[in-house]
């Protein structure tokens, strides 16, 4: 790749988190039985008309503000005409000449280098349905539940130069849509999806090379791998003295290759024109001002603040700010115990482990951040050991119980009474003369063997610091 440079632009589709569709009142719920969230409007019956969803307009504008776009006070819905069975009207209602947002940017940091990625535009559009091909009866079916679901398409400038940058940009966008609450960010269900335009050119050349559009990139990992593959493929093509063909290529994640889907000669002429059924979308200045004032602290700013205010490492701050609810949880827990680093460790350890096991997010659990803060506090105060804290974490997460009361009720409070511990230490020494000999002969690592014996006798409740102290004294 030394001789070539990649040029990458992304087109990201994010499903807006509205309850109803963009132009009718049907539900946007995912996973319903086929053709149950459908009415005469989203199934393209004769004579029906679209009425825009005001919440979708608000979400699109908020997203634009979050990525430094100009939000146009007047934008225009346009029809994108093409035939396909999953497109009941024979056109998609999108925006063409005058989108709702334009001229934005987003800064990303890769390998310590910060780069500014331009955002050309954000426009609103309605989604198509889904064709289902059945091998069983050699037939095709159409499910229109998704037809009319509101999307925004976020189009970047061709400003990325590597797969890493593309993924960093995509992750940054993803974090923002989720922070704003305008999209649930679910890539598996297709709520957040991405096409990549990839070309390469000799280093130093100004003109762009011929690009391929990559589709079917439904995870961050696939985006990375597909772009890497495509860059290498185009390089091979050029090195063989051939020319890259402008085309759409489908990524095959199993084989990790991109395959030609359709060429330029099959490209559609979409015959865009302003949709006469819809008035221009006008946004009042007061609404714009209110939405701007309501913008939450965005991931990048929050990451910087967590590092500054709580002394977190960049990596810790990144993990905790990837999800707004997680960052909120962190700050609330830290407020209880004043131990940001310990809270961060417990969240990245026990909390994320338990969340992953249950495949839930932090806002779906019974445990309140105050409970996690208290747990950190009682560990630090020596009321329970870190091990006990770890052992009971799952129960606390499920029950929402407050840790101090919980450990007292269960009798899990650490034994810090020297005489009680001394009895157990004496017993352990008396029962294991061989190990005592070995320890005295220099195998000091056996201290953990004795620790284990004593913990078993005290059911894990002995204060480990006291045990170590007594053992060292008695084994002298």
């Amino acid at each position: 790749m030394a001789l070539y440079e990649a040029v990458i632009g992304l087109e990201v589709h994010a499903q807006l988190r509205t309850r109803s569709k963009l132009f009718c009142s049907c539900s946007t719920a995912f996973g319903a039985a086929p053709n149950t969230n459908v009415c005469e409007v989203c199934s393209g019956m004769p004579g029906v008309l679209p009425v825009p969803n005001a919440r979708a307009v608000e979400y699109a504008a908020r997203m634009g503000m979050a990525v430094n776009c100009t939000v146009n006070p007047v934008s225009v819905f346009a029809r994108k005409n093409y035939f396909y069975p999953d497109l009941p009207k024979g056109y998609q209602i999108s925006q063409f000449e005058t989108p709702i947002c334009e001229h934005g940017h987003l800064d990303i940091t890769v390998n310590g280098q910060t780069r500014r990625i331009g955002i050309t535009r954000i426009h609103m559009e309605d989604d198509a349905g889904k064709n289902i091909h059945s091998a069983g009866d050699n037939a095709s079916y159409v499910d229109l539940n998704r037809s009319g679901v509101p999307l925004i398409e976020i189009v970047s400038e061709p400003d990325m130069r590597s797969a890493e940058e593309a993924v960093a940009y995509l992750k940054a966008l993803h974090a923002i849509v989720v922070y704003l609450g305008v999209c649930d960010g679910n890539m598996e269900e297709g709520s957040f999806r991405c096409d990549a335009n990839v070309s390469i050119r000799p280093k130093g050349q100004q003109e762009f090379g011929t690009r391929a559009e990559l589709k079917n990139l439904n995870s961050f990992r696939n985006v990375q791998r597909a772009i890497e593959y495509e860059i290498a493929r185009q390089q091979d093509v050029l090195e063989d003295g051939d020319a890259v063909v402008q085309e759409t290529r489908l990524y095959d994640a199993v084989k990790n290759v991109t395959v030609s889907m359709r060429g330029k000669e099959e490209a559609h002429d979409y015959r865009y024109f302003p949709d006469p059924d819809l008035m221009p979308v006008r946004i009042a200045a007061e609404d714009l001002a209110r939405w701007r004032a309501d913008l939450p602290e965005l991931p990048q700013a929050r990451r910087a603040r967590l590092m500054e205010q709580h002394g977190l490492s960049e990596q810790d701050a990144e993990v905790l700010t990837a999800d707004r609810a997680l960052a909120d949880f962190f700050e609330a827990a830290t407020a209880v115990c004043g131990q940001p680093k310990k809270v961060s460790n417990m969240m990245q350890g026990a909390l994320l482990r338990e969340l992953n096991q249950r495949a839930v997010t932090v806002d779906a659990i019974a445990m309140r951040p105050e409970a996690l803060g208290e747990l950190v506090r009682i560990v630090e105060a020596g009321l329970i050991s870190a091990k006990i804290a770890n052992d009971i974490f799952g129960e606390l997460l499920e029950s929402g119980a407050m840790p101090e009361a919980f450990v007292k009720e269960r009798g899990l409070v650490q034994i810090s009474d020297t005489s009680a511990i001394e009895t157990a230490v004496d017993e352990a020494i008396a029962e294991n003369p061989a190990e005592v000999e070995a320890y005295k002969g220099g195998k000091t690592k056996l201290i953990s063997f004795f620790m284990g014996q004593i913990m078993r006798k005290t059911k894990g409740k002995a204060n480990p610091a006291l045990v170590t102290e007594l053992l060292q004294k008695k084994l002298g």
């Binding site: 005469e40 199934s43 393209g44 019956m45 004769p46 004579g47 029906v48 008309l49 679209p50 009425v51 825009p52 029809r79 005409n81 035939f83 069975p85 009941p88 009207k89 024979g90 056109y91 159409v142 002429d269 015959r271 865009y272 024109f273 006469p276 059924d277 819809l278 008035m279």
Partner: protein
């Protein structure tokens, strides 16, 4: 037909409405009279695509059972509706084979308003396929004939509605007007036809032809009847984003308030005179203007200088919108589907080739072409600019006068088949009507007498300011009252 039936169907909508309200007539009697008239005239004029027949008698009896309701301004009044409007439970074809036996589960907004007002919907009227045409000869099913002379066309595309009203099958009908499709057939059939301001009547349930031009409006035998129907169907509809949120004026009050035309300035656009207008049409329109002056109106010369470009602009904008609007008729979800398609492309191509008639295919191709990459600026964008100039012409003219007048059609009804082989000449028949749709303004046509040569009805078009239907109807009511209306055409029975 019995004499009683004939007497009933000759009443105006307002008269029959009042007699029904006073229980001098029952809904069943009135409905039965209309069904008799339909049975007598339909073989000659073919105004209806769907005749609901006996079903409407049951509806009428149910109304009689419940008794007149003062909250229902059309209680018991039989009407017909153009087949471009969806009717829940009744087949809606839009004059096309491609819709097959499509039966919608939803009423058009305007149809729902009629039903809520207590009207009885007798059936669906014939039309040029997808409202594309000026003679109703482009119906996929049969041409409708003019009740005043069944060898002649009724105009179009709402020719079925106009014929149905003129023949006395009903007391009023809803038509749609994209480039003159209410006013021109009203003119050719001697009835009153009103195209409201764009946005005054919801388009929900109107199978779209040119979405930025289409409006629903009434066809009736008197101006008062048109005002009555407009009062019922006008208003804001949250399901049509282009429907106006403005309050609906009191049209009946406006009619009652005006007794003559004093103070009314009538503008006569230079472009609506002279060349291309049949002398019998000019003469009848001039006589009407003379009458208006007698009634106190002043006549003002005005100009609409961009009128010559309106046909070109219209035949870019309307087909462009149509090419997209008609894309949903693809044989996938409803309507006609080609038998055993080889593949997806074959399904589309054959379903549409078999389902759409020649004129519809012509306009889809025109529209597809003018929106194509590389042609958009030269055609669609330019036409949109011309449209703005035309609108400005009207604004300037209507700043100097209250109403604009001119012929609705350059000729009276022509013979069936006379223009079918010459689409351009057919397009010229709309020369006086379609610029109004480009401007989005209201216009109505009133009958002003019979042509001296042809003996066929001549219509005068009266155009007004946006949402000025009240003023327009009031002026038209005075003039039409003085001129008289031809009423029900007698000749078509048994012809």
């Amino acid at each position: 037909m019995s004499d009683t039936s004939t007497a009933i169907v000759s009443l105006s909508l307002a008269d029959v409405r009042d007699r029904l309200a006073r229980r001098e007539l029952t809904a069943e009697q009135v409905t039965a009279a209309c069904l008799d008239r339909i049975a007598a005239t339909e073989p000659a004029i073919a105004a209806l695509l769907t005749n609901r027949g006996e079903a409407v008698l049951a509806e009428a009896r149910a109304l009689d059972g419940a008794g007149p309701d003062p909250a229902k301004p059309l209680w018991g009044v039989p009407l017909t509706v153009k087949d471009a409007l969806t009717t829940a439970g009744t087949r809606t074809t839009c004059g096309s084979r491609i819709l097959g036996d499509f039966t919608p589960h939803y009423d058009a907004f305007a149809v729902a308003r009629l039903r809520e007002a207590g009207a009885v919907i007798l059936g669906k009227t014939n039309m040029d396929e997808f409202a594309m045409g000026s003679s109703t000869e482009n119906s996929a099913f049969a041409p409708t004939r003019n009740p005043w002379n069944v060898a002649r066309v009724p105009g179009g595309s709402s020719g079925g509605s106009a014929a149905s009203v003129a023949a006395g099958q009903c007391f009023g009908s809803l038509g749609t007007d994209t480039g003159g499709s209410i006013r021109q057939p009203a003119s050719l059939c001697g009835c009153v036809g009103l195209k409201p301001t764009y946005g005054r009547v919801s388009r929900f349930g109107l199978v779209a032809y040119g979405s930025s031009l289409d409006q629903i409006g009434p066809l009736t035998r008197t101006v008062e009847d048109a005002a009555l129907l407009l009062s019922v169907i006008a208003g804001h509809d949250p399901r049509d984003a282009t429907s106006a949120a403005l309050p609906v004026d009191d049209y009946m009050g406006a009619l009652a308030a005006r007794k003559d035309l004093s103070g009314v300035r009538i503008g006569v656009p230079r472009e609506f005179r002279g060349e291309g207008i049949d002398p019998e049409v000019s003469a009848a329109c001039q006589a009407a203007l003379d009458k208006a002056q007698e009634l106190g109106a002043s006549i003002v010369d005005v100009e609409l200088p961009h009128t010559p470009y309106s046909i070109a602009a219209y035949y870019i904008i309307a087909p462009a919108e149509a090419s997209s609007n008609l894309a949903r008729f693809d044989g996938v979800r409803y309507g006609r589907r080609a038998e055993s398609p080889r593949d997806l492309a074959d399904l589309y191509v054959r379903s549409r080739a078999e389902g759409f008639g020649d004129e519809v295919q012509r306009r889809i191709m025109l529209g597809t072409y003018v929106l194509s990459s590389g042609y958009y600026d030269a055609y669609y964008r330019k036409a949109a600019q011309v449209r703005r100039l035309i609108r400005e012409d009207y604004e300037k003219a209507l700043a100097r006068c209250d109403v604009l007048c001119g012929p609705a059609s350059p000729v009276t009804a022509w013979g069936l088949g006379e223009l079918t082989s010459d689409p351009l000449k057919m397009y010229m028949m709309d020369v006086f009507t379609l610029s109004l749709n480009l401007a989005g303004l209201p216009g109505l046509c009133i009958p002003v007498g019979m042509g001296g040569r042809s003996g066929m009805p001549v219509g005068l078009q009266m155009l007004g300011r946006a949402f000025g239907e009240g003023d327009l109807l009031a002026a038209a009511n005075v003039l039409s009252g003085a001129l008289g209306v031809p009423g029900v055409a007698p000749a078509c029975e048994g012809a």
